[in-house]
């Protein structure tokens, strides 16, 4: 077995970096997991295949190898909380402000300065703990995690070690249909509170590094998953669900590019059927969902290849960096034993005590979470594709819900939002909160079309005006005199006029060119300025064309 594989590999040395294999799939991934606006970003995002080798052969070989192995994936996620101030001092934090301007003796770790915990941090931690179905520790504490690094002014990070604020939860999600769909439940080991370090910049030429301490002391929640994921897609969707949850809760902007949501991934593989875990490798520098997916798939095939070549001893416990440009992981540092962080209880901070009343009040204030929304939309009869689209962005979901509560038809409302409205938002680079069309007017528009007051075509025209300028459906219909003509006599008159003005075409039609019906219908519609009821128009037109003029 191994030797056959080995031979294949010799023929295709590029297999070691099977970049091109994943690029095709990424494209699709990108659009499902990015927000609604980037639905069609697929094409631009595709990587041109870097190596000219028969893709089929390549893919088959890798698939064949990876099929014999099972990957075990766990994720540590750091979520930066959107509090106004830092965790233990009142310094304001704003992403992108001038370096070293938001600092004070506490976050700089100057002697004698004492930390005081921000109450919002506890509130946000409890919210996330509840949203992730965790058990909360009513009594928890802070610990010092000690290490020396220039972005850590105190020489230790205030964190939670043996008693995290939340433990033993889970997250539910639905995989997009493009990836086979299906429901997944992934365990959450723990959620704990800690502070961020400063930012370290490495100057290109000089023999020094630069430190910006604005971020030092900003509150983070670290979420540790159970090693429940098996593929890059599952891991990326897990991260995407965490992003949705923190955004729904309003505790973080979840922005990966700014580093407000950071994922470190642990990957190990083992031959299918083996119960003990393989050596685990940590991957860092993953700043998009698609890079999580690609980095993991790359890492799985790298490890599977080493296994299949009898070189599994070369899989060592280490931290690897994902290189976006090269589409591969590279060694960052090898680990030798566990780091000794010398944790001990933070003597400068009191115990964190949660009362059951406090937890209840927060529990009662939680918004409807993504999973609950998806299940509710599903029960309404929407397709999974609609469900995933609508529940992906909390604002879109709220807009949809508001449209429904104004009485709109469920499927029609979904179609308008996912179709014309989404396209408009994408073109104009707007979010749903920026558009001028209110959910009430969208409901009105849908009702007007349904009742036949206006035609669907005119509905679309009104929509673009409402999106850009606002106003009301009724007002626009009146102002522009757009009410659909549903009077058979009036439509008949217009048909008569068109027929009499086009004797040649009438002759051809009656001579057998029945396709010309479309021409007549078009002319009548034009004459009515698009207002004629299309069903009625066609019915009367047919009668008149086939009967006597």
């Amino acid at each position: 077995m191994a030797s056959t594989l080995f031979r294949t590999i010799q023929i295709h040395p590029f297999l070691l970096y099977p970049t091109a294999l994943f690029s095709r799939r990424n494209g699709v991934l990108y659009c499902t997991m990015k927000s609604s606006q980037t639905q069609t970003a697929t094409q631009e995002k595709q990587q041109p295949p870097k190596v000219k080798v028969p893709q089929h052969a390549l893919k088959k070989t890798v698939d064949k190898i990876t099929r014999d192995y099972e990957a075990i994936i766990g994720i540590e996620t750091h979520v930066q909380l959107s509090t106004l101030t830092k965790a233990f001092c009142s310094c304001p934090y704003n992403y992108g402000s001038q370096p070293n301007t938001s600092i004070c003796p506490i976050c700089m770790g100057l002697p004698g300065a004492l930390p005081v915990l921000n109450s919002k941090v506890i509130e946000f931690a409890v919210k996330l703990g509840l949203a992730l179905n965790c058990k909360l520790s009513l009594n928890s504490k802070f610990d010092r995690k000690q290490y020396f690094y220039p972005d850590l002014p105190k020489g230790y990070q205030i964190s939670q070690f043996d008693i995290p604020i939340a433990t033993g939860g889970y997250v539910d999600l639905d995989l997009p249909l493009e990836f086979g769909g299906g429901h997944r439940k992934f365990g959450i080991t723990r959620v704990h509170i800690e502070e961020d370090a400063g930012k370290l910049l490495h100057s290109g030429n000089g023999d020094y590094s630069q430190v910006d301490l604005n971020r030092a002391g900003v509150p983070l929640l670290e979420i540790v998953s159970e090693p429940d994921m098996r593929t890059g897609i599952e891991a990326a969707e897990y991260a995407a669900e965490l992003q949705r949850v923190v955004r729904y809760l309003g505790i973080s902007n979840g922005n990966m590019q700014e580093g407000s949501l950071r994922c470190d991934v642990n990957v190990s593989i083992r031959p299918v059927g083996q119960s003990e875990f393989g050596t685990k490798v940590e991957i860092k520098n993953l700043n998009s969902f698609s890079s999580i997916n690609r980095a993991i798939d790359f890492e799985i095939s790298r490890q599977a290849l080493l296994h299949s070549q009898g070189q599994s001893d070369q899989i060592v416990q280490e931290t690897r960096l994902w290189e976006e440009g090269a589409q591969k992981t590279v060694t960052m540092r090898k680990k030798e034993g566990l780091s000794d962080y010398r944790y001990f209880p933070e003597p400068d901070l009191p115990e964190v005590i949660l009362t059951p009343e406090y937890v209840d009040s927060i529990s009662n204030s939680l918004p409807e979470l993504p999973e609950a929304k998806r299940r509710r939309y599903e029960k309404m009869g929407l397709s999974m594709q609609d469900v995933l689209f609508l529940a992906n962005d909390m604002n879109v979901a709220e807009y949809f819900d508001a449209t429904l509560s104004s009485g709109a038809d469920i499927k029609l409302a979904a179609n308008w939002i996912m179709g014309d409205i989404a396209a408009y938002m994408k073109n104009e680079k707007l979010s749903i909160n920026d558009i001028k069309l209110t959910p009430q007017e969208l409901a009105e528009l849908i009702a007007s079309i349904k009742s036949g007051t206006i035609s669907g075509k005119i509905g679309k025209e009104i929509l673009s005006e409402l999106l850009a300028k606002g106003g009301t459906v009724k007002g626009l219909i009146e102002e522009k005199d757009l009410i659909q003509i549903a009077d058979p006599v009036e439509i008949g008159k217009m048909i008569d006029k068109v027929i009499s003005e086009n004797p040649k075409q009438l002759e051809q039609y009656r001579g057998g060119k029945t396709k010309l019906q479309g021409f007549f219908a078009g002319q009548v519609m034009k004459l009515s300025k698009g207002k004629a009821n299309p069903g009625l128009l066609n019915k009367i037109l047919l009668e008149k064309l086939n009967g006597q003029s």
Binding site: Q98, P99, F148, D207, Y343, I353
Partner: protein, 142 residues
């Protein structure tokens, strides 16, 4: 510095407990049994092991010459023994506490306040080049 050093030492003793936490394969188990683990460590360690001084110094980023190690080792051993007296306290009927103080929360409103004397903060930085703090080049941890 004195109190910091003591903390380091207490922490060192704590280490055996810590690593037994770390080796637990199921972190959930670890949390549930946390309090018991503590009692356990208190009871079984009747005599404390002296620290590996060169290792301790390295972790604290302190350089010690071999003769200094020789000089300090017995002194630190004495401190450890002093802490060791705590092991004699009978805790059988005492509720475990996760913190020494019992007062609990002392929380702050999330209201921004800018620290006024920033110039003094910056002035105390040993090496500063607007707008960054300059440090020796670092690329990897450890």
């Amino acid at each position: 510095m004195g109190s910091r050093a003591l903390l380091m030492l207490t922490n060192f003793n704590f280490k055996t407990t810590v690593s037994s936490f770390g080796s637990a394969s199921n972190p959930f188990f670890l949390i549930k049994n946390n309090l018991r683990t503590r009692n356990f460590s208190t009871k079984t360690r009747s005599s404390l092991q002296p620290p590996d001084l060169p290792g301790l110094a390295e972790t604290a980023r302190i350089s010690l010459a071999p003769n200094e190690v020789e000089e300090f080792a017995p002194k630190i051993g004495q401190v450890i023994d002093w802490f060791g007296q705590l092991q004699a306290v009978d805790l059988d009927n005492v509720e475990p506490a996760i913190r020494a103080d019992t007062e609990g929360d002392n929380l702050r409103e999330d209201a921004p306040q800018t620290f006024e004397n920033k110039e003094a903060l910056i002035a105390s930085v040993p090496s500063y080049e607007e707008p960054y703090i300059k440090v020796p080049k670092v690329l990897n941890k450890e």
